[in-house]
């Protein structure tokens, strides 16, 4: 009986060996270059415990890979060949560096058709970074298919979330643990609607820009869409008193994209002089980075210019410690449709700003978010196809240097290629977010 089992085992192993070697070349020529793989994980720095980085050959060739653990890095050897080749290529092993810096366990983002004007399914989702598990936090199934946008968490705490749910009976949803309420900001206080939000680190205040946004489709050129504001101001909601106040009410200046410093004592935002007929004069719309001090629930002093350049329009400032990461584009306020849009890093102590070259690509980079310890940054990039935004994560050494970014790992290498949704507004989360679907559905009943 034992002999029979052993024979069967040997036969099975032999047939597996035959199957495994089927179609593989008999020899490999070693070359002194790294393989071109997709996604590009060559030389990236990853946090401990990140989901497996799976890849294919960029040119679609067959390949085998083996991984060697070197302690602070993993060396990946790749052998590739075309079907029918008698000799394949053995590439130089490439490193994937391990970082000892922790990363928040989840990232939240919105999934939306890379759209143009309307939508069908929109949802705010969370992805566990240690696995491929993606779960909905809330989708527009709960809101009668209205638009969901501009989610924000207080200090990355998933228990406190704010997002807009547009459409009939829509408004801004504030959820704190098991409590949730919906407020139509356009109906209260100064009657301004809320758009881009920023939660004060103390948790009591929320500032929103209040934008009148339009979009236009170009007749030619290499940019399909331009999105612009014809008006924008900034409002603040005091969650303790449920009051709304206007921070900036300046018809001649457009203020947008507010963001708090870590200590909550400074509000950074972008501002540009208003232009008549923005659709035609959009090339002249350049936003500067501004700041205003905040103390005891009040803004004090005059706004001051922090960064401005004639050839750069600043958007989406996000601060961690002494560093402020922003998106720089040639003009305008919606960089995702600007291929030239890149991430820039500003040292708030020295005032020096430079392009974060290692993060950038020939396509748009935008909508970035720092991890809670400031050692990682997640951002959206259109480098893969120019139209669909994908998420990339990069390490940061705390001294102004980023590591090579890596694409958020996916279960299969063609998952993002065949996904018909774009990722946007990624935000790190300190823990798993509760499911907000039923809670939101109740608000819309």
């Amino acid at each position: 009986m034992k002999t029979l089992a052993l024979t069967k085992g040997i036969a099975a192993a032999a047939s597996m060996l035959v199957l495994a070697s089927c179609g593989k070349p008999s020899g490999f020529e070693a070359v002194d270059s790294y393989p071109e793989i997709y996604p590009d994980y060559v030389g990236v720095t990853v946090p401990e415990g990140i989901a497996e980085l799976r890849f294919d050959m960029a040119d679609g060739r067959r390949f085998t890979e083996s991984r060697r653990d070197m302690g602070d890095s993993i060396m990946v050897s790749v052998k590739a060949w075309n079907k029918g080749d008698r000799k394949g290529v053995e590439y130089k092993a490439f490193p994937i560096y391990r970082s000892s810096q922790a990363i928040d366990p989840y990232v939240a983002y919105r999934l939306i058709e890379p759209g143009y004007e309307s939508w069908h399914d929109i949802g705010i989702y969370q992805r566990e970074l240690a696995s491929f598990d993606e779960r909905a936090i809330v989708t527009n199934e709960a809101t009668g298919k209205g638009c969901l946008n501009c989610h924000s968490f207080c200090n990355g705490d998933p228990e406190n979330i704010v997002f807009h749910a547009r459409g009939r009976d829509g408004g801004t949803v504030f959820a704190f643990g098991d409590d949730a309420k919906i407020v139509n900001l356009a109906d209260v206080g100064p009657k301004r609607q809320g758009t881009y939000s920023a939660w004060h680190p103390g948790g009591r205040y929320l500032v929103f820009s209040s934008n009148t946004t339009h979009q236009s489709f170009q007749i030619g050129g290499d940019q399909p869409i331009e999105v612009y504001d014809t008006a924008s101001d900034i409002i603040m909601v005091d969650l303790q008193t449920d009051s709304v106040t206007v921070v900036f009410d300046t018809p001649n200046t457009l203020e947008t994209f507010a963001s708090w410093s870590d200590d909550g004592r400074t509000l950074y935002y972008c501002a540009a002089p208003a232009v008549e007929n923005v659709s035609l004069g959009r090339g002249g719309m350049r936003y500067s980075l501004m700041a205003i001090d905040f103390e005891d629930g009040r803004f004090i002093g005059e706004p001051r210019e922090v960064f401005s350049r004639e050839d750069i329009s600043v958007s989406f400032p996000r601060i961690k410690g002494d560093y402020l990461l922003f998106t720089a584009s040639a003009y305008g306020t919606f960089p995702i449709w600007h291929r030239e849009a890149d991430l820039w890093l500003l040292n708030l102590r020295t005032g020096e700003a430079h392009s974060a070259d290692v993060l950038n690509s020939p396509e748009a980079e935008s909508y970035h978010s720092w991890s809670s310890n400031g050692r990682w940054v997640v951002f959206g990039s259109r480098r893969d196809d120019g139209r669909y935004t994908r998420l990339y994560i990069a390490s940061f050494d705390g001294n102004g240097h980023f590591g090579k970014p890596f694409m958020l790992p996916q279960k299969t290498t063609d998952f993002d290629m065949t996904r018909l949704k774009s990722y946007n507004i990624p935000e790190f989360l300190r823990s798993e977010s509760p499911d907000r679907q039923d809670q939101t559905r109740q608000l819309f009943r």
């Binding site: 071109e36 960029a58 004007e117 069908h120 007749i219 030619g220 050129g221 030239e340 396509e363």
Partner: protein
């Protein structure tokens, strides 16, 4: 014999009277063998129903296959119902089975919503059981006294009559007509549009007028034929502001014909947003087409990869791959002419507005000189200047 006759009858009726409708089913459905598709589907209600229905609809792209599938499914419903009633012993009654498949046929072909096929199949159990419960016992036993020929006639005749009535009813006929027009517009088969959206049909359904006008326009005959159709004003020449699937669809074809491929992409995407999945096989194919026109290799690559995940579109996608992609697996990025903060070129490119006449003037001033554009401008000008 009964099954073979039923199969043949349904196949013929479908192919003769419903061939465009079943293609439209496919055009508006979505089935992809991707993780994202299944994940999204299982987040919706009736996921299995959607998957099975969309999978079947995928093959409706080819009318003969669609006809065969429809006939096969209806025959299977008949068989299933027969088995069910036989299983119920004394309640065995093929007449109820006939009613079951007739009801199924009517539901399936009553409209163009591609999703409820299997949902209907589930719901069908209820009327079938009701019929079984309430038909008089004498009627149930009636078949035993009939000859085989009479039986065949008794069961096939109602199917044939109801099928024909279903296929020739006003709604199915109109659906078939619209499916013909929309598909002809996609193929730029202007003669077919004019033949289908004739003056009488357009008088009954005024939404056909813009399609007919587009066909005339593409042939350079719109301005001179304004009086041939019951055109009341410039709003009949286009579907600007019509925020329905058909309205967006029409506008995307119009913009495509005028050479505004970004706007065509925008509008076909808008059209997709009105559909159950937010897109459909037709929307994906049109998107691929516009990206080919724009020469965006990476988007072409993406949509080819997506379409390859559809069993019924795989061959087409592979042919497109062979024709349009000769680069690496990730495609070739367009020259990064605008990847410079100093580049301001896009800021001066005109943008499309919601004033169709202004758009035409913009296009003309941007160098477009197509006879279609001139003909359309002439037609608008026949109603006076409304470009302000």
């Amino acid at each position: 014999m009964t099954y073979a006759l039923l199969f043949a009858a349904v196949f013929c009726v479908t192919l003769v009277f419903q061939s465009q409708t079943i293609q439209q089913h496919e055009a508006l459905s979505l089935f992809l063998l991707t993780g994202d598709y299944f994940t999204q589907t299982f987040r919706e209600a009736w996921p299995l129903s959607r998957i099975v229905a969309s999978f079947i609809s995928g093959f409706f792209r080819f009318p003969v296959v669609g006809g065969l599938l429809t006939a096969l499914l209806i025959t299977l419903v008949y068989l299933f119902a027969n088995i069910l009633f036989r299983f119920l012993g004394s309640l065995a009654k093929p007449s109820a089975s006939v009613l079951a498949c007739v009801a199924w046929y009517m539901f399936v072909h009553a409209g163009c919503d591609p999703l409820p096929v299997v949902k209907i199949l589930f719901r069908l159990c209820i009327p079938v059981l009701l019929v079984a419960m309430f038909l008089p016992k004498d009627f149930l036993l009636f078949r035993k006294e009939l000859s085989r020929g009479t039986l065949l006639l008794a069961f096939i005749a109602p199917v044939a009559v109801v099928s024909l009535a279903t296929a020739l009813g006003r709604t199915p006929r109109m659906n078939e007509k619209w499916a013909t027009i929309e598909q002809a517009a996609r193929r730029h088969d202007w003669d077919k549009i004019l033949k289908t959206a004739d003056v009488m049909s357009a008088s009954k359904d005024r939404e056909m007028i813009p399609f007919a006008m587009l066909a005339l326009n593409a042939q350079g005959r719109m301005a001179e034929n304004l009086n041939a159709y019951p055109v009341k004003g410039p709003e009949d020449l286009d579907m600007e502001g019509v925020r329905t699937r058909r309205g967006y669809y029409f506008s995307s074809i119009l913009q495509e014909c005028l050479g505004c491929n970004y706007e065509a992409l925008h509008l076909i995407s808008q059209s997709g947003c009105t559909l159950p999945y937010g897109t459909s096989m037709m929307v994906l194919r049109q998107t691929l087409k516009y990206n080919i026109a724009l020469g965006d290799q990476r988007m072409i690559r993406k949509y080819i990869e997506v379409l390859k995940k559809s069993p019924a579109n795989r061959a087409m996608a592979k042919a497109a791959e062979k024709a349009y992609l000769k680069k690496t697996a990730t495609g070739t990025a367009p020259a990064a002419v605008s990847d410079s903060l100093a580049f301001n070129g896009n800021a001066t490119v005109p943008v499309v507005t919601n004033n169709p006449i202004y758009n035409l003037i913009l296009l003309a001033s941007h160098g477009a000189e197509s006879p279609m554009l001139v003909d359309r401008l002439n037609a608008y000008s026949a109603f006076g200047d409304t470009a302000n």
